[in-house]
């Protein structure tokens, strides 16, 4: 059995004990609180976890209207640039009939928000938004109840408009007037929610971004705070043999913290730290390890007889804000601010690292400088907390870019083998697909085929690997859609027509058609040294088709992507502007993995772990981008942060083949 989400498989705690509901008012202040009772299926992902079939005895607060009328919603999702803060605020404001600006979305604070597995797998829109909508509807109805009671009015004559309850008599009240002096809790269960309105709302905290006022984790300052740095091993799995840290201690105010293999330094003055760190003499012993040169034979030692083999390099997420954490201890309780996609996961890691109960730990996630699947873990939080514990002061630790490139984790590398056959009409008759190490996401073919074998094979990865935007769907789509293109050309059938002939899925057909129409597929021939390519895919409830035009300079070994048309359909559209941003962002980011990003390593060391050695997409790489959003109001909205990336690389590869007749079977593709 295939683990589709192999690299996103994280277990939450089996039990979680939440406070008595009377405590809500101690934490939040008076007013009204809405609790959401989760059924077991929902609880797998967010909301309290019962463990096995245990029936939840306590629910958690999802919404609070204070006595002064402040409206707060609580979610364990975090904002890492995917605009979920805005999308969720928009959703609840819509249901509450209140202005977007009147709602505060409290995100990723483990003391305040309901348990959540984490922000990944494009789940915020399909699951969190309906849950919060349900809560907002309950609050809206409740406010009407309260007003009817207080005014002795017929409830049916009351309505809420622009954040005020309005009566037929012209009487009206702000929410705070109705919640004043109250300490009331109401529970809601499952129920219908409105379809999203499809509206572009500006990013709710956008002004803080353009004025530099938003405090990312790396910007937080606490009274008496020290800055930290960590001494890293000479190579992966290195063990400390000897150390002389007296050189570092000679710098004024520098303190060395040592605990086994962990060595860190702190100072109130950040600028002395690099010099102090360099003054430490240390010797490490590390095992010999495979390098990127022989990576693929290492991952898949014995090739079988295959039609084609594709390879995928390790790549780094390179979130522009590297891992960062601020930690402080007070009376045995640990508070950590950190940029992570899994605040509750990081809390669990901290509890394990320091052998203290989770109830003694608060993790808060300020809106973070991106993640792309690369910030699921709590290494930096643990390190900062260790330094803070040793010094008794708050400590901020911001990883350097080189540390982020080396000590985080990578998108898995892999090898993919394909064997296939089609009949003379271009109908697939056999499809055999083996993925070694890169992962199972998107591994299943959407094409109809009688004899199919699709398999993921485990391998021992020489580098630490984990989630990445779209997971292995990028690799699996690259191999499949490139190979489909080869088969189409062998059968002398237009690649689009070849796909149509083997597809029954109407939604896939729909995006292919939309992309082809916008691109003008089949309408013209490419100019000399230019080529056109098409590819499609589905993943996480979304369907995508990409058409690319490339220009190729074989002598200079240069591939330039001139134009990309992306058609994307993920059900009903919530916010078209932000959806388009996600699609364009995925395409631009995807250019890197398609054409130039690859981690080079040898013997436990990263060889190109800095931005001057690792090329990411820049302004000059930007193709002409055209996005076609297919709105299916009849289908529940799926997330959009990931899937638009998956068809890009094969559409480029197919265009290169079209231009110069060379099939590129390695990501990144180079001539």
């Amino acid at each position: 059995m295939l683990e589709a989400e192999r690299y996103e498989l994280f277990q939450g705690p089996a039990y979680r004990f939440t406070p008595d509901r009377r405590d809500f008012f101690k934490i939040l202040g008076g007013g009204i609180v809405v609790l959401l009772m989760m059924n077991h299926a929902d609880g797998q992902e967010s909301g309290r976890r019962g463990g096995g079939n245990a029936i939840p005895k306590e629910a958690e607060a999802w919404m609070h209207i204070g006595e002064n009328g402040t409206i707060q919603f609580f979610t364990g999702k975090v904002e890492v640039g995917q605009n979920s803060r805005t999308a969720l605020t928009q959703a609840v404001a819509e249901e509450l009939h209140a202005p977007v600006q009147s709602v505060e979305m409290v995100m990723g604070d483990t003391d305040l928000v309901p348990f959540d597995m984490g922000t990944f797998g494009s789940r915020t829109t399909p699951t969190m938004a309906p849950q919060l909508r349900r809560v907002a509807i309950a609050a809206r109805e409740w406010l009407l109840d309260l007003a009817a009671e207080e005014w002795h009015a017929d409830r049916a004559t009351l309505k809420i408009e622009n954040g005020r309850v309005q009566g037929a008599s012209g009487r009206s009240a702000a929410f705070g007037e109705l919640t004043k002096g109250k300490n009331l809790v109401r529970e809601v269960g499952a129920g219908a929610v409105s379809k999203p309105r499809c509206e572009s709302v500006a990013k709710v905290n956008g002004r803080d971004m353009v004025t530099g006022q938003h405090r990312y984790t790396s910007d937080i300052k606490r009274p008496g705070m020290l800055y930290g740095r960590i001494l890293r091993p000479s190579a992966f799995d290195g063990k400390l043999v000897s150390i002389d840290a007296t050189g570092a201690e000679k710098f004024p105010g520098v303190q060395v913290v040592r605990d086994g293999n962990f060595v860190g330094i702190v100072s109130a003055e950040a600028h002395v730290l690099p010099h102090a760190l360099a003054a430490i003499q240390s010797e490490w012993k590390a095992p010999s390890q495979p390098g990127s040169k022989d990576l693929f034979t290492y991952l898949r030692p014995a090739p079988a007889a295959v039609d084609a083999t594709y390879t995928i390099a390790y790549i780094a997420h390179v979130p522009l804000e590297p891992r960062a954490a601020v930690a402080e201890w007070a009376e045995g309780r640990l508070t950590v601010w950190t940029g992570t996609q899994r605040p509750f996961g990081v809390r669990e890691e901290l509890a394990q690292a320091f052998q203290i109960p989770e109830s003694q730990i608060r993790v808060m996630v300020p809106d973070t400088g991106s993640g792309y699947g690369g910030k699921h873990t709590g290494e930096c939080a643990i390190e900062a907390a260790r330094l803070a514990k040793a010094t008794g002061k708050p400590v901020k630790l911001v990883w350097t870019r080189e540390e982020e490139f080396t000590w985080a984790y990578f998108r898995p590398a892999g090898v993919i083998d394909i064997r296939s056959a089609a009949n003379k009409d271009g109908i697939l008759t056999k499809w055999e697909f083996h993925n070694y190490n890169s992962g199972g996401s998107g591994i299943n073919t959407p094409y109809e085929v009688a004899h199919k074998q699709v398999q993921f094979h485990d391998a021992k990865s020489p580098l630490r690997q984990g989630s990445y935007r779209g997971l292995a769907a990028t690799a699996n789509h690259f191999a499949r859609e490139s190979h489909m293109d080869d088969m189409a050309r062998t059968a002398e059938i237009d690649p689009l027509e070849f796909r149509y002939r083997n597809l029954k899925d109407a939604r896939m057909h729909g995006v292919l058609e939309a992309a082809a129409k916008q691109f003008g597929w089949g309408k013209s021939k490419p100019r000399p040294n230019h080529g056109f390519g098409i590819a499609c895919g589905f993943e996480k409830g979304g369907y995508v088709a990409s058409c690319a035009e490339v220009s190729v300079d074989q002598a200079a070994k240069r591939i330039r992507v001139e134009r990309v048309v992306t058609a994307f359909e993920c059900g009903a559209i919530v916010n078209p502007q932000h959806l388009k941003n996600q699609v364009e962002g995925a395409v631009v980011q995807g250019l890197g993995g398609a054409l130039f990003e690859a981690i080079e390593f040898e013997d436990g060391k990263i060889l190109n772990g800095k931005l001057s050695r690792y090329r990411v997409p820049r302004f000059s790489d930007l193709p002409k981008l055209e996005t076609v959003l297919v709105d299916r109001k009849d289908i529940d909205s799926a997330g959009a942060g990931e899937t638009p990336i998956v068809a890009l690389a094969p559409s480029i590869g197919n265009a290169v083949y079209n231009a110069v007749g060379v099939r590129l079977r390695s990501l990144p593709m180079s001539l």
Partner: protein, 154 residues
């Protein structure tokens, strides 16, 4: 030595070789300028030094002596956003926002010397600024929008 930032003068002591970015962020608590790479490759730390964009992560304090420094915090005047800040909002030219202040400062440097740049000129001037979320098309649109509204002066 004296450091002139956003119209204020700060008296600083200590190592004149330390980098401007750290001074701004850690000592003056002006955290709008960001650390992204420490080698001048990502542009997140961009500030204006005597009106020209520089990478503050590579700029030693001593070279700033007597020169006016503008950071993202100093761009708005009397609570009114600079045309570029407004354009970034209007064009939705960010996702996570971490690169945004550097983008705006690089663009401010560009518009100061070229009031109405065409796309290739914008691309050249902004080539040293990285947005990992891939909002480049929106950023280009924002710079053109600001230029159209006379974005060269605050």
């Amino acid at each position: 030595m004296d450091l002139k930032v956003n119209g204020r003068t700060y008296q600083l002591e200590g190592d004149p070789e330390r980098h401007l970015l750290g001074v701004l962020r850690d000592e003056l608590d002006l955290t709008g300028s960001k650390y992204g790479c420490g080698e001048g490759q990502c542009g997140a730390c961009t500030v204006l030094l005597a009106g020209a964009p520089v990478r503050s992560c590579l700029t030693p304090l001593r070279v700033t002596a007597g020169k006016a420094i503008t950071t993202i915090e100093g761009l708005a005047t009397h609570g009114k956003l600079h045309p570029l800040q407004q354009a970034f909002l209007d064009a939705d030219a960010f996702q996570c926002g971490y690169c945004t202040s550097g983008m705006i400062m690089s663009a401010a440097g560009l518009l100061a010397k070229s009031a109405n740049p065409a796309i290739p000129e914008i691309t050249r001037a902004m080539q040293g600024n990285v947005c990992r979320c891939g909002t480049y098309p929106k950023i280009i649109a924002a710079v053109r929008m600001a230029a159209a509204k006379g974005g060269s002066h605050a």
